[in-house]
Symmetry: D2
């Protein structure tokens, strides 16, 4: 860390800063400059807590040189993390994995039809919400546990793996019991009680980026999972808040190469929430794969115009199938391949 | 709701939209224009779910005319809500209420000293975190239940009421048991499981605005509390995310008159988190009162440079006292008065 | 346009609104609802000026149904605009056009070397600033007219076309005289005096999106050019302002399909300014082409570490060449092809 | 400046950085740490150009310790700048100066009536646009030179000073000739040709903050004026871009104390554009004065509902007069006073 002193800081102020740094067990290296003194903090293994120093007299600013996350950092672990799923599917290696399905589990017929449709087009993981975080208390909040059981049934019928969202610590245990991947939604990216519970589960976690989370905050939330011992963490870019209302969110595809530079964790993309409109999903899905995403999560419904939620951003099976063909070709250009469902396309 | 059709929508598309609106139990009023047709939805008591309609062929956009929140709306209840607290203190009426204290409860000596200091300067409610949501898993996470008990002790010694944060449903019950006001933090503004639990408690709730929450989303989260039957909701503007790093957050004071226009709920302001730097707290606290805030929540610590968290944005008791004198004068200008601690200043 | 009345608006308020609408030469259609009245404005050919109506008593909000731009709209002109450049190059059709070169024209040797390097790798248009808008008055501001003459020389030597920025009305005339495409930079997207002058020139204009411009504002600035009679307008997404400092700007690739939906104008992407870091340029360039961009503008310098500006985001010729190979393959996947320099690769 | 090396940088990379720093005429001080080396740049009088260094091998990031502006900085000049206007009015001292008037100069009757109305209520400077930057090319663009002449006439009749906007270098000369203060609008904050021309004029300049300008960029634009020798610069906060559409812009009142900390220049606030809605103007005007603004610029029209532009955010004379009374009381609380028109209130 580097402590920048105000240009009117006195020598006593500098001595005060040095004293506190030394009290904290580090070494302090004052560097007087023409305009102001800066004090380097040396000897720290990880990140120094700046709170105490920032409050001292004469301090202008504390600049961190080391990022605040550790286990999530590529400096901590050079090789990419590859999350291994049942049946041999991997996320973070050469394969580009596509998760698809309806926004919500609505009933047995709908989820089974969805599962077959997305499997036929080449998806390997079924998505579908049993617990739905909705902005309004009056919106459909999901089927809950019966929804989880329907997802299990769909898995049995199709062989697809299942990813679904958990909204609180208790729900997290139920999701861990029934699904293959626990999803933490964007609104809960900094719900630390939930992150700790998911970090203690034995299932991989799909962590969505918060609506206005910086990449650093995103990796810090991943760090909560890693710190509890769960190393099977998959990140997901799903669009951030911006000033333009043309799209539901601002799909930040730069997050993909940025995360890959800073972290060893895999990252996938959600073009459905990222754009909010069906017609933008295929081009942005192609772009995500071209940018290096390790997978996609996409909303598909047998009849989007009858979906109970998110219909406007949901593909129908034909649109999804066409998109999958394009994705396979793009993946090849950059030396990767779209993972295929077991037994498919032989 | 108004459904805007694409300019190339066919008559069949329009008939499809009308049919779905009627299926949903409303009346549809198509208005053909020179460039496109719009279809009005009439007969709805509250907000219409746009999801199904937005997914139909030929639909360009659905415009809502009615806001999605209901009980939080000033159209639902004209008179301002006045939250009545033990000892006769009120929030939302003529009084401007000041909540003050350290970021975290650290130990008995610190919280008792803080409580005396802020009471002497004129605060009526003690703030202090027992459960701390921290971006990093390695930062101090609060004392937990022992912290709550120390707050109770501080209340007994000073007569101040206590506000403190709950982070999850279980913690919420403990906070409700010990504190006078349950705080829901910015990161948890859309933690619906927590909101539902707080909505079921019998204690007033201080709901902080999420980091990138629109006012509409903010009021929808309040609606979760109201929908559970808890009408003692106090909103709090605490700064939102922006593109400039000069301040920790962007303190959005316009939110105060905007909320007062749209809702009957009281709203206070947090200039400490709103700015992140001690020297900006007094001017922005004055501005908040001048803009019509029903109260303030401010970080004060006996020795900010030794605080375990948020030292840089924390006032010392002398700074706080000077600020309180200015606030009293500003409140008078707009026909209000700063609430005084029981037995004080007589 | 639709006028939403406040829920407490009186009948007199509604009559006042109707009267003003009729004064303005339109028809008014009041629609009383359960909660409030809305008044439709009918008979307008283009967009109604809301300013007068929004100021009337009892008006809550004016909602526009028709976008405020006209000639830039796809509703005005269905077929995509294809900008035809000297030598047969086209922008907006099947070809994906790559513009490349240094941030600034520094001297003859540098610009000639750059031109050869980018032509050899397959670029067809040379970029390079003669007039440089710099945040600081103390930064290098470009060579000015001598820089324009060096660009002409580079064109003569390599056959590349030339695009370069104009910063004010007079400079615009000089750029129009020397270059093949006039660039309007992001900071000047709403410099209307400059837009009007460029709209009167006979050269195509490359209009960059402003740092926090909505797509609607972007198209309105294009409308300034079109309204002056210049239909050869090429839009350019180059990154917008966001809250995260990991990248210089937030590269908004969704803008590509969004613009293509709303407008017939071609749109290219600038991954150099869009990300600000060399290593992010190739993945985001691939993503831009996959998303449907009609071209790219990329910073390339023979020795980026000696560039006078923007070195950190500049590719060297080898990096650029490798990227071009990937772009050709991606373009093919979506049925397009990267334009080749005349006489190349035969 | 501090150069942060990547944690995998080699010793040769560090030597390369040191060599370039020394070539640039500074001294380099490498500080090897446990995780990475940082290199301090010492001996620079002002800000070091980071472009060349950021492009070198092994460099992670360049951190600036010195802000990039110089003459605008409070470190360069401790005492606040007081802009002295004809007739003895000052901006930046004890007085709080109120500029008021219509959005646009529409005709003689309107501007004269406006001038009398705002003078009677206590304004000392008349605002009114003769050149109007409008998002749409089809909106009213102002009367131009005849508008300037009407402003001169209003000054003659009322004794008010005049502030009005210039949009390009030529227009700037005309505005300088007719008005007392040249306004540079938000859209033109980085129109450097215009800034340079205004910097060469002999009239004070009111510089509005750009829609998404950081405070640093804002001060850098002021630096363009100062660098040309014009020290009479008045800054103006007028709202920035945000994600919520409840208000036209996000009025950033923290900018007032932040600017006062970083710079000696006066700063005023524009609550009309800052909020966009008449009913929010008085509370936010009070808040601006309470936060320490040196003045206000407010839209007032004799009959807002007939204004040709910005009617919805414009006060009528009665509303303005009531607001002025509150502002006088708030100013007193913080030891200032609202400037009165010559001969008024005696």
């Amino acid at each position: 860390m580097l402590v920048i002193m105000r240009n009117d800081a006195t020598e006593e102020d500098v001595r005060g800063v040095v004293a506190v740094i030394e009290q904290m067990g580090y070494q302090a290296r004052p560097m007087p400059g023409r305009q102001r003194t800066t004090v380097g903090v040396v000897g720290n293994d990880g990140r120094v807590n700046a709170d105490r120093i920032a409050a001292l007299n004469g301090v202008y600013e504390c600049l961190h040189v080391t990022p605040p996350y550790k286990q999530a950092s590529r400096e901590w672990k050079q090789e990419p993390t590859i999350v291994r799923l049942p049946g041999g599917l991997t996320i973070g290696g050469d394969e580009v994995v596509v998760m698809a399905g309806p926004c919500s589990v609505e009933n047995e017929k709908q989820i089974i039809a969805s599962a077959h449709a997305v499997r036929d087009a080449g998806a390997t993981i079924l998505r579908g919400g049993a617990y739905k975080p909705r902005s309004s208390p009056y919106s459909f909040q999901g089927l809950g546990l019966p929804g989880l059981k329907l997802l299990v049934k769909a898995r049995e019928e199709t062989g697809l793996l299942v990813v679904t969202e958990a909204m609180d610590p208790e729900g997290c245990d139920l999701v861990a019991e029934h699904a293959d991947i626990i999803q933490i939604g964007a609104r809960n990216m900094q719900n630390y009680s939930l992150l700790k519970r998911a970090g203690k589960s034995k299932k991989p976690v799909l962590l969505k980026r918060g609506l206005s989370a910086t990449i650093q905050e995103f990796l810090l939330s991943a760090e909560y999972l890693l710190a509890e011992g769960n190393t099977d963490v998959i990140l997901c870019e799903r669009g951030i808040r911006s000033f333009d209302s043309q799209t539901r969110n601002l799909f930040d595809l730069s997050a993909i190469p940025v995360v890959k530079k800073l972290s060893h964790l895999p990252i996938i993309a959600d073009p459905s929430h990222g754009t909010g409109l069906r017609e933008f999903v295929p081009p942005m899905a192609r772009a995500a794969v071209a940018a290096g995403a390790d997978g996609l999560i996409v909303e598909v419904h047998p009849t989007p115009e009858r979906a109970m939620s998110d219909g406007a951003q949901t593909l129908n099976p034909e649109q999804f199938e066409k998109m999958m063909r394009e994705l396979r070709a793009i993946a090849e250009v950059i030396g990767r391949r779209v993972a295929e469902p077991a037994g498919a396309r032989n």
